[in-house]
């Protein structure tokens, strides 16, 4: 299909002195240096940013980033797809290589969102749901309430996701929140949307991540190349009155990806999933088939998704602790998998890590997600 030969990632967190462009350029340069590929060899650029138009009035930012990297004249494509902006750019880059359009492409996701007055993320002011008070934490809080009602999932199990996340992030110098928290501290943090407290919601962040992708032929000489086994992008089904504790879009996207990769959940050694809220990680365990429906709370409590457990999830710290610069996230997840699959993840290295899965979702519509991506990488 294609391989990843280079990765770049900046620190995540408030970076008031940086611009979207400077963050994107830093990540892009690191990715090119990682694989020692000249910028002159890049045949196309894919750039993800979700909020620049809304916050700064900036559009077609990708061309600004790639021009500073000396990558001109070639196709540059800008993507906005909510929280999957980055993974969508990756998906498109992959198609470009699969179609034989380019041998080497650079994918960059960059976001700057730590600005005064951002408020809570919503689906846009023209939407009736937004005008009736829908904000993203509320959407997940309602799923949490129903999961607790259906399966007896507890507040402590929700909090255990954050406790694990902070423990992992302490091993990642680029993560935003690296201080350990206890279950009691998580539950005592300010309430956002019941039952979710602040420590159970991912922080906004400034940051960027980048990948260099190459065709199999081009990458033959790269010993640290990581194979892309499958990448799937879907949108929601928006099935009204569905079971909101079992995310059909998650299940459908994961199933398609497993089929394409010719593997099942048991073959996965590490997962980076879209833990925007604690309940989200629990729902994704179930959607990705890491446990049976309703058992996500027990799974996190058992320690099986911690570093050293059966199937470590969000060893990078995930969105909850690494931080969530929206359009960088989908690429940052893949960067983490590449670190792990190359056995270059340092103190947070997952042992005998051969196959990794990244899952990302974005946007709200009619009680569903608008966009979902699942990618499987292997060495």
């Amino acid at each position: 299909m294609a391989v990843i030969i280079g990765t770049g990632i900046t620190a995540f967190g408030p970076q008031p002195d940086r611009t979207i462009v400077s963050l994107g350029v830093e990540a892009g340069l690191l990715a090119l240096q990682d694989c020692a590929v000249s910028h002159l060899e890049v045949g196309a650029g894919f750039f993800a940013n979700a909020l620049g138009a809304r916050l700064f009035g900036d559009t077609t930012i990708g061309q600004n980033v790639f021009a500073e990297l000396g990558i001109t004249r070639v196709p540059v494509i800008n993507t906005e797809n909510a929280c999957t902006s980055g993974s969508t750019a990756f998906y498109l880059a992959l198609q470009s290589i699969a179609a034989g359009q380019s041998d080497v492409v650079l994918v960059i996701g960059a976001e700057k969102m730590c600005v005064p007055g951002l408020g809570l993320i919503d689906s846009g002011n023209a939407e009736i749901e937004t005008q009736l008070g829908m904000v993203t934490p509320a959407s997940f809080a309602m799923r949490a309430k129903r999961h607790m009602y259906n399966y007896g999932t507890t507040r402590e199990q929700l909090a255990a996701v954050t406790v694990k996340s902070r423990r992992h992030a302490a091993l990642n110098p680029l993560a935003q929140f690296r201080t350990p928290e206890t279950v009691d501290q998580v539950l005592a943090s300010p309430r956002i949307a019941d039952p979710l407290t602040r420590s159970q919601c991912c922080p906004i962040a400034d940051g960027a991540a980048a990948l260099v992708l190459a065709s199999d032929e081009y990458a033959a000489k790269f010993e640290r190349a990581i194979r892309v086994d499958a990448a799937v992008l879907t949108s929601g089904s928006y099935e009204n009155q569905g079971d909101m504790t079992q995310w059909e879009t998650d299940q459908r996207t994961a199933t398609q990806t497993y089929e394409k990769a010719g593997i099942g959940p048991k073959d996965i050694d590490i997962v980076e999933c879209h833990d925007a809220f604690t309940i989200a990680e629990i729902l994704h365990y179930e959607g990705l088939g890491l446990c049976k429906p309703g058992e996500g709370g027990n799974l996190v409590e058992s320690g099986e998704t911690s570093l050293g457990g059966r199937i470590p999830v969000n060893v990078s710290g995930g969105l909850l602790s690494r931080g969530h610069p929206v359009a960088a996230t989908g690429i940052a997840q893949l960067v983490e998998l590449v670190f792990q699959l190359r056995n270059e993840a340092g103190r947070r290295q997952v042992e005998d890590c051969k196959t990794g899965l990244a899952h990302c979702m974005g946007g709200d519509r009619g009680g569903d997600t608008k966009s979902c991506t699942v990618v499987v990488l292997s060495r």
Partner: protein, 138 residues
Amino acid sequence: MADLPPVAENIYVPSKDGFELVGAYCDHCEKCFFPLREHCSNCLGDTTQTSLGSRGVVYSFTIVRTKPPFALPQPYGVAYIDLAGCPLRVFCLLDPQQLGKIHIGSPVRLWVGPMGVNNAGQPCLRPFFRLLNNPSEQ
């Protein structure tokens, strides 16, 4: 209250004992939609405007305690309501006076009142659900 504009057009209408939600109906597919839309997303045929009734049951809910958008009350409640009159789940506000009294499975009905501001920053009316047997009306 009559002087204030609704938060958006065509989402509710007055009825003889309160208010009803307004949605779209496809005769061909026998499907309801909320909010109103011109075409059925199943067959792409034209829809007609229809009443979705005023009653339902809470599927799930939350109380948002952080700084609210649109000058909504702090805290404010929202819910997914499974409507009684048609097979449809809608997202809506809850009566700010009844937070803590409304739970999953609570029977509720639609009401309308002044709440927050609209996209233009003007005070406006918003629909919300309250307990079917509203204690303040007894």
